[in-house]
């Protein structure tokens, strides 16, 4: 974390645009106010787009964490077979990897501390899913129970 502020700063790209010089010389003040409003609105839309995407990734990863928990609970409780549990954990791992790559290929997301934290938790979930797959394949209930308690991203939980 060296060199990185721990303060949850507002991302710089979300700041409203500031004009250093008169952008529309010769136009009336009402037109300038309107242009400024449009620019501000565009900035807000862009910012909301970033936040909405981040929220979407968070929801998807929380859903995948909840899926992992429900699948392992079902397997440990004898309600779902090992075949189903493996198929679901494999598919969940694929979906987590898709989310991770979507986060990792977006500099905007990684620059945002919230995106970076999400990406890190997604990576931990990936590793945990790999461990759970081995647990289910080897029918190792106690290890699966322990791993299920370490799911790094769940609905409602915050880092």
């Amino acid at each position: 974390m060296t060199g990185m502020s721990l303060r949850p700063a507002r991302p710089t790209h979300c700041l409203p645009p500031v004009a250093a010089h008169p952008v529309l010389p010769g136009l009336g003040s009402s037109v300038r106010v309107l242009a400024a409003c449009v620019a501000l609105a565009c900035g807000q839309v862009g910012c909301r787009g970033h936040d909405a995407r981040l929220d979407q990734h968070r929801k998807s990863l929380e859903s995948l964490g909840a899926t992992t928990a429900a699948t392992v609970d079902g397997w440990l409780g004898g309600q779902v077979s090992g075949t189903y549990a493996r198929a679901t954990l494999e598919r969940t791992l694929q979906l987590v990897d898709q989310e991770r790559s979507a986060l990792a290929t977006s500099p905007e997301m990684l620059q945002d501390p919230r995106g970076a934290a999400l990406s890190e938790r997604a990576e931990r979930l990936s590793r945990l899913l790999a461990a759970l797959l081995l647990d289910v394949a080897s029918a190792n209930g106690p290890s699966a129970r322990q791993h299920a308690g370490e799911i790094p991203i769940r609905p409602g939980a915050r880092p």
Partner: protein, 404 residues
Amino acid sequence: VSAIVDLVLGIVTSIGGFVEVGSISTSAQAGSEFGFQLLWAILVAALMLAMLNEMSGRFATISRRSLVSAVRERFGIHFQLVPLGAELLIDVLLLAAEVGGAAIALRLLTGVGFLWVVVPLGLLAWLILWLCGFSAIEHGIGLLGLVTLSFVVAAWKLGPDVGDVTRGLMPSLPDHDWERYAFLAVSIMGATVSPYLLNFYSSGTIEEKLTEKELWVNTTTGYAGTAFGSVVSMGVLVTSAMVLGPRHILVDSYEQAALMFVPPFGTWGIALFAAALGVGCFGAAVEITLNAGYALSQAFGWSWGANKPRREAARFTFAFTTVLAGALLVALSGVDPLRLTMVSVALTVVAMPAVVLPFLVLMNDDKFVKEHKSGALGNGLLAALTIFAALLALVVVPLEILGG
């Protein structure tokens, strides 16, 4: 007695054949994300489908022509190419998604990799079409499809609040993610009112040689079958809302959707879900393949019919075989069936006006429907549906980008 047997079989077949990959995925997603709030979309879509089914059956009974044949005759081959091309493209994508859905159902039960079973499933569908007549295909699939009633049983066992369900049947605005809400509402309609169903229904009416005296059978089957069938879709939505919603599980895969059957059915849950998904998807795959053969043959004036010996309908057989092979190639490319489904239903919405508008003209043409033309109410509803379909077609792509 024979008409009553036909009626009962028709209704049972409609119930069993209602749920397939599109309705399961859209209803499950809607339930997990918005609770009961999108039940109204299923109700509206079912009303639209019932009306269109009844009209297409009536049209085929009186005119002795399927929709595709009549569109070609009335508007010419150049116009015909637009709805035909759209229908075939959607058929191929939807067929790939259905085969993919059936393959995932097998994977849930056996653990066998998805891609290993795609070709055997395609061959099985082709063999059924090669060996069986129309009634055996339709009623066999419909009877097997009754396993999808397990969605209704699941919802019943979970005991939803009647007041909440009733409120869900009234359109309302969401308190979050309105783009996603609107996209799912439109997708539910696209998944329910699929163009292939209309031509399949009219072609089936001709295959079954329904007479003018038996029009009441068509009307009752069209409305009652669709009404009961839509209850199965509502069962998917309610079960998903009650099981997956509170756990914050979104439906990004069929494996996740299967979890909705664990609380109501316990150890039988996954097997039942796999059976419902597998039978629903495989049955729809057989019907879509058959419909692709119908549509191509009827558009080009070839001999067609599932009841005809294959030698007498060689081009029809070649047509459905080619479409099935194309869909298997798409499925083998490894595209996620759930995503393919969502793209297919969005395309269905885009193509809907091209299918519904000619139908409005045909239902008012004396040459085809004689004195059985639609009345003011039927015409008004169909015209409203055409405008509604055009509006949906305009908004579905932006909604897919924003909320898909």
